[in-house]
């Protein structure tokens, strides 16, 4: 069972929900795919047992063999290669490791080399959650390969909770694809509402069943409720905007441990998700 937690925009409380869900899921694995700003560790407080570098492949140009024909700079869709006439210069953070430059170089002047683009960490929490996260180096343009790596780092069959990066970019797509179910966390604001619609669109296109959690729920913002009702969307949970919950996570504490009914909410959420997954399997 793979459950991903995503959100059309940052700051909706997605990580709190993901960590809360992980803390009530027996024997689970939590994978933080928000590699540009991983903060699941703040709430889950894992003991890190392994940390290793992650690499990407970049081209290395041999300027002695190169005749500055410009082929490589033309085929690079990401403008990572610059032709300075006496040197082909690589802005390595922009390179997406597509290999096109090496393939098309008529002079065979390009070889491929490894370059560190981040690191992956593995740990365990005091309540037996197996924990993974990853850090993309600052400036790196492409997060998707590292997300894929940290996702694939776990190969067992324990339940997996994936904390997706916010937004609806290819990073989010990489994180949520091949999950059995995706939880979209939103909030009762016009921005939250707008970005929720974008996220729903993405999930529909890749055909992943999803449900909605409204965080910091405000009944005065009726647009969101109406939209969910009119489109018969699956509303899983409304988390009220309450001081005790806000205080808990602002102190870096998991509300499932400090706020009594939050744990009940998460257990209820988990049950609903499980039912949805079973429904899908029999459909």
């Amino acid at each position: 069972m793979v459950i991903s937690i995503a959100s059309g925009k940052g700051g909706t409380g997605k990580t709190t929900v993901a960590c809360g869900l992980a803390s009530v899921t027996n024997n689970c694995v939590y994978i933080d795919c928000d590699v540009e700003e991983p903060n699941g560790h703040i709430l889950l407080k894992p003991k890190i047992t392994l940390e290793e570098s992650s690499y990407k492949i970049i081209p290395k140009i041999n300027n002695d063999l190169c005749n500055f024909c410009n082929k490589c700079t033309e085929v690079c869709e990401f403008n990572a290669l610059l032709n300075f006439k006496t040197e082909i210069y690589l802005i390595d953070e922009l390179c997406h490791s597509c290999g096109a430059c090496t393939y098309f170089c008529p002079q065979k002047a390009i070889t491929e080399v490894k370059k560190e683009n981040g690191k992956i960490r593995i740990g365990e929490t005091s309540n037996n959650i197996l924990f993974y996260d990853a850090y993309l180096k600052v400036g790196e343009a492409s997060a998707a390969p590292l997300i894929k790596k940290v996702k694939n780092a776990y190969k067992g069959d324990r339940p997996v909770i994936i904390d997706s990066p916010p937004g609806t970019s290819c990073s989010m797509l990489e994180a949520v694809k091949d999950s059995d179910f995706c939880v979209l966390v939103t909030e009762s604001t016009p921005f939250g509402f707008n970005d929720l619609k974008l996220a729903i669109n993405v999930l529909r296109q890749i055909n992943i069943p999803y449900g909605i959690v409204i965080n910091k729920y405000d009944e005065n913002f009726s647009l969101l409720d109406e939209y969910i009702h009119d489109n018969q969307l699956n509303l899983l949970l409304r988390i009220p905007f309450r001081m005790d919950i806000a205080e808990s996570y602002s102190k870096g504490e998991l509300p499932t441990e400090t706020v009594k009914d939050y744990k009940v909410m998460m257990l209820d959420l988990l049950e609903k998700i499980k039912k949805e997954i079973v429904k899908k399997e029999y459909a």
Partner: protein, 107 residues
């Protein structure tokens, strides 16, 4: 000495465009003769890496000084690699001609 200014139009009367990688034109002025060349920015609508691509153009034109609003990290890396002196902080209400005059008077 060649001075490039990021411009929203194709003449010395045009206004500055503050965005280095996404400007419409570069106006490149020869400070010795005050002749100028208008170079469209090929990276204006690039998906990504617009700044470095724009830098490549200026480096190959032999530009010495760039006057603009602001420059991203990767563009800065490429400009420095090409030994272009970067001056940021230009405002989009400034005419190209005035930006050049101002730079030459301060130099």
């Amino acid at each position: 000495m060649l001075i490039a200014v990021t411009s929203s139009g194709d003449s010395l009367d045009s206004l500055v465009n503050e965005k280095f990688g996404r400007c419409q034109y570069f106006i490149i002025v020869n400070a010795d003769t005050m002749k100028y060349e208008v170079v469209p920015n090929p990276a204006e609508n690039a998906q990504g890496g617009a700044g470095p691509k724009a830098a490549e153009v200026l480096v190959n034109k032999g530009v010495n000084v760039l006057l603009t609003g602001h420059v991203g990290d990767k563009a800065e890396e490429a400009l420095k690699k090409g030994h272009i002196h970067i001056i940021t902080g230009l405002n989009e209400n400034t005419k190209i001609a005035d930006a050049i005059k101002f730079y030459l008077s301060k130099k």
